[in-house]
């Protein structure tokens, strides 16, 4: 039973445009959410997070939106750059529980 779902395995976006990566979760006990970015042959690196008390968190070109009623979060990257091409993992956690990761979305930025 997947508690964190990324339904799009891949996404292709033109350089300079907005990239939107989506994530759904089922466990209403989750109260913080994270996005990780992973390049091939490297470990995931933390990108941005959001607490359930907020509905938006912004860091430079990256913004995460949280819709608690829909149990949905999204990552917006604008403008998209070639270096953004990577696999993006959505993750969620609650209290002292371990973090649950989604299956990942491969983002490709085309020139």
């Amino acid at each position: 039973d997947q508690q964190v779902k990324q339904n799009s395995p891949s996404l292709s976006v033109q350089e300079g445009r907005i990239s939107i990566l989506n994530c759904d979760y089922t466990n209403s006990m989750f109260d913080y959410f994270l996005w990780y970015k992973k390049y091939p042959a490297e470990g995931p690196t933390f990108l941005i997070s959001i607490s359930s008390i907020k509905d938006k968190n912004e860091d430079g070109r990256f913004t995460v939106f949280l819709n608690k009623s829909a149990k949905h979060l999204s990552l917006h990257i604008v403008p998209s750059q070639p270096g953004d091409s990577a696999v993006y993992f959505c993750a969620a956690g609650g209290g002292a529980s371990k973090i649950i990761f989604g299956s990942g979305t491969r983002l490709s930025i085309r020139p």
């Binding site: 990324q6 042959a41 209290g95 990942g104």
Partner: protein
């Protein structure tokens, strides 16, 4: 700078061999984790540990064991490798109690032939 170091980047082993994957963190984190990453399956938790000498099974513990004799070191052991254990193995660590995220190592690409 915070670090999680995995002992090997690439390993090639024959079926049936024993493999030790070592992970060391320098952040004094209580929690340590072993994941494997496979295409389309994301990050799957193998084992984790909340303290020295403690270990708990994750989602896919079969065929693996772990050891945590010191706080900074968490080892993943494959007693008798099989081809379906060919994967990218990732170690991570995080603070105890409320976790705000993990720091990952660079990963070990294990190929079993």
């Amino acid at each position: 700078d915070v670090k999680v170091t995995q002992s090997s980047r690439y390993l090639v082993k024959r079926t049936g061999e024993k493999v030790f994957l070592e992970c060391v963190q320098d952040m004094d984190h209580e929690n340590m984790f072993w994941y494997r990453q496979d295409p389309g399956l994301g990050l799957r938790l193998i084992y984790f540990s909340y303290d020295v000498k403690m270990k708990e099974k994750g989602d896919i513990p079969e065929g693996y064991s772990v050891s945590r004799e010191k706080k900074e070191r968490f080892s993943l052991i494959l007693e008798s490798t099989s081809t379906n254990q060919t994967s990218m193995y990732l170690c991570a660590s995080g603070r105890g109690g409320r976790t705000y995220g993990y720091t990952f190592g660079s990963g070990t690409r294990l190929t079993v032939v």
